[in-house]
Symmetry: C2
Subunit: 541 residues, 2 copies
């Protein structure tokens, strides 16, 4: 475990404390004029966070200490508990910023290897203590808040199982192009370790700088370069999972017809079936060449048709995204260069990025150029692409600044088949706009497509408005309305954020009664005491 | 249901009765000289097949008749029972050809829609009658022989649930490029229905002419053009499954992070969790251009390295296969032009096929040409490709002729990571050769790679030898030795044939104890009475 892996995120917001930046004046002005944002809303100091009493007693703490090999790796201090309270959704941040930490873990355990994770699970099963696996802590769907929303509330004590000490590259097979990592490794360090061998994982979601490989697998993450490198669930060939019933190894061959694909039960299980402790993933040669460029389309519809053409008939850029008219106008397609001034021209900005060998990149870029031009696109050159690249991880920092300034900002996402996408887009936008306008805080609703498939695409919405009196309660009806609109229009409740506690009720409708019964049966088999992430994905037992 | 869909396969072998052909004299000579094949071994006539007494009584038959809407769709005649006895593995054929039909179904039911399938499952649950879903009947792994090998044997009556009446195209979405089919539709008819709209499924396994779409899904089929169109499990976006507990709809979006991917539990479940009654699959524009060409490599190793280069760095042909030295020498890479005379030159024959638009095909072909040439390949032009195409579905007909002639012929397959492939190849070959040689019937063992992935590839073995005294018992130790070698060398017990009853014990080792417990829990949830394909995939309860 090196220093970098141990580095902590800002407890009250996102990311590296040194990188926080206030809003440009022009944006602050826009918030006032356009959204009626009036008062700044700073976070309380860390010392102002109210923690519930820790509920673990001597025998439980002794067993947990033994499980992790000593007191250095069991933490019950206030700061550790605050830093492991919930995730990084806007409601999570609003609550912690106000000093409310009612569902903080009772302790934080830091096991050092797979055997210690098993030992923690055995100790917690014995004492009926719940366990929340904690990777980068970047969940934006309530994936780290057990029993949140249940009437049972925080009745049962729970520990955050922080995986940061499981941070090693275990094996690299350059012939098969696979790498086996421990699950607590953060993505940038995985890239560093791979680059020493000339490889990349190619997985760059917005949470890249903080998220862990195990978290990517547990939540079916999808990166900004998914068109080129695939979703994370496409990359995983095998996983080792610590469960209360023992070790579960899944995945044996590149592909197989030997029964159901049990890897696909672990992927997306969000810590409810077991704790992923290591995983084998496909890797690729680090690209010699990277080019990102901008394109302008007359409308979101026209741009979406162009993206569909590429997704269905090729060639496929490595990165492919399209902002709608509002997102383009606001300039949030390039958050790092956000000025609050609208872009020069109307229409919709698309980014097409190419990574690979010099020759392959040049060929694919030229072929893409031909298709996009035929589809009505206007090439804008590399500047918008470079702007996008510079700001690709900046969104959450911007959100912190918006929250400080008294604005509300949140994102949500879905995916649907191409033929259903126009309705899905319209209905979700209207649900958000209608609900928040009725509540007296007319929002800006921005949207982009950032993941494309032959049969459909994702839609990613950003909502910015004034904060209501009680901003968490104020947002809840809008989020509910968006979820209802997604299900009604045939979308999935999440394309890449996951289910957590926030989407649980809608997930139950998406999976259907038999799907939920099946999943509950799997959970009861692997976690008979129901200690693992209770209330996430499935109702708490 | 049209006439074609109702057409029956040869009961004692493969395919269309009109297409059966005797072996060329030169091949018969080769069998004599090389393998010591002495005596022809013709099948008994249909009337010579000994059926066990049918065990379904009045109340059961009455309920089943009601479930399928009348007596026309419940069959208990001898021919129907024989035609639904087991599948098309060589042991299956040897047993039925000898007149042994001890595990024939007690009746055959032909439901007309999803509701009738549900009704059949309810009736069978009530009467504790086992149900074997029957699509094309092309299983080569004992997928249609319930409890085969169990001591309980055929103690429990069972029905074959023939899905041939579920043969409609239900919906086509040309924008999203998806099609929804009933599951009993045979692949050629699906292609006909799609071609009227300009689309293709692109799924062409050797069983193509007889297999059904539901069977492809239930067994994770992989077609000869998998490099271009993907495996069948890649194509499925949604399934509707009739289970004893009701209807299970799985799959909602192109891709999703909403929990585990439950589609992947149905895919590969081989009728043990439910009966797939309809499914939605991705389709593609029917290709305007198709070119298949031959390449020669100095050795299997050199050819495999070239295939790996294409699979990892592209471009990827639509069809990509490589025969080893023995398969190349025998000419079985092109079964339709089999002469028994060795090819003109040594080395290994590869086939690269390209399908798509004229322009796209030409570009990909040229780029592939450059890579294969750099990898030491010698282009042989289109003749070997055309030969391969003509014979692509001919293998099973050739097997019938070999069995008639008194030879034994069987295939088996696996997949592994690239770095493990040389050992996997060597160990499986040696297991087959060693066991059969020791038993007094030294075999020819041929092998090809026919499915490639960035991380690995499949290996497909063909074994030809003289038949032993009791050919089924004679083969069993060789098959067991091959299975052991596969598991020991890190391969999967099946890349595309499935598990059935034949691979069940090795599948249990591949899935591991917790994997089997999970799968059993899922089965107990959906099929509490254990009526669905007992003994397939999982031990019979």
């Amino acid at each position: 475990m090196n220093d970098r892996a141990m580095r902590d995120m800002v407890w009250s917001g996102w990311g590296d404390p040194g990188r926080a930046a206030p809003l440009p004046d022009s944006v602050a002005g826009l918030l006032r004029e356009l959204l009626g944002v009036r008062h700044a809303a700073p976070a309380v100091p860390l010392s102002g966070v109210a923690l519930p009493p820790a509920r673990l007693a001597g025998p439980e703490l002794a067993d947990l200490t033994a499980a992790v090999g000593g007191p250095a790796f069991l933490r019950t201090d206030a700061e550790s508990r605050v830093r492991h309270t919930r995730g990084k959704s806007t409601p999570d941040l609003l609550r912690i910023r106000s000093g409310e930490a009612s569902d903080a873990p009772d302790a934080v355990v830091l096991p050092g290897d797979h055997a210690e994770v098993l030992a923690v699970l055995r100790a917690c099963t014995r004492h009926r203590v719940a366990v929340v696996p904690f990777g980068g802590g970047t969940s934006v769907v309530g994936g780290l808040a057990p029993r949140s929303g249940d009437s049972a509330g925080s009745a049962r004590p729970f520990v955050a199982l922080d995986l940061r000490r499981l941070d090693r590259l275990l094996a690299l097979d350059p012939v098969s192009r696979t790498a086996t990592f421990q699950a607590g490794l953060r993505a940038p360090r995985a890239e560093e370790l791979l680059s020493g061998h000339g490889f990349t994982l190619g997985h760059f979601p917005q949470s890249f700088e903080w998220a862990t490989l195990g978290g990517f697998a547990a939540t079916r993450s999808s990166g900004q370069a998914s068109a080129g490198y695939g979703r994370f669930d496409d990359l995983v060939t095998a996983l080792t999972v610590a469960t209360p019933e023992g070790t579960w190894d899944v995945g044996r061959a590149p592909r197989s017809a030997a029964g159901p694909d049990l890897r696909q039960l672990v992927l997306g299980s969000e810590g409810t079936l077991g704790v992923i402790t290591s995983l084998t993933v496909a890797v690729r040669p680090a690209p010699a060449s990277r080019v990102y460029e901008g394109w302008r389309f007359g409308s979101f519809e026209e741009g979406a048709a162009a993206l569909r053409r590429l997704a269905q008939d090729g060639p496929l850029p490595t990165v492919l995204r399209l902002s709608d008219e509002t997102e383009t106008m606001i300039g949030l397609a390039r958050p790092d260069s956000l000025t609050g001034r609208p872009d020069d021209a109307a229409g919709c900005l698309a980014i097409a990025g190419f990574e690979g060998t010099e020759e392959e990149t040049a060929n694919r870029r030229a072929a893409t150029h031909a298709v996009l031009t035929r589809c009505g696109g206007e090439p804008l050159g590399e500047t918008p692409g470079q702007d996008w690249e510079r700001g690709r991880y900046a969104g959450p920092y911007l959100r912190d600044a918006l929250l400080d300034a008294g604005a509300f900002a949140e994102t949500l996402e879905t995916a649907g088949f191409w033929s259903a996408l126009p309705e899905l887009y319209r209905e979700v936008r209207e649900a958000l706009t209608g609900t928040l306008t009725e509540a007296g805080t007319p929002p800006l609703v921005l949207c982009h497509i950032s993941h494309v498939y032959p049969t459909g695409a994702s839609l990613y919405f950003t909502v910015v408005s004034a904060q209501g009196e009680d901003p968490v309660a104020h947002w809840a009806p809008a989020k509910r309305a968006a979820n209802e609109a997604i299900i009604a229009a045939g979308g999935t409740i999440s394309h890449h954020h996951g289910v957590g506690t926030d989407h649980r009720d809608w997930y139950a409708r998406e999976a259907g009664p038999l799907g939920m019964v099946v999943l509950s049966a799997v959970k009861a088999t692997l976690d008979p005491a129901g200690i693992l992430n209770p209330g996430v994905l499935l109702p708490a037992g």
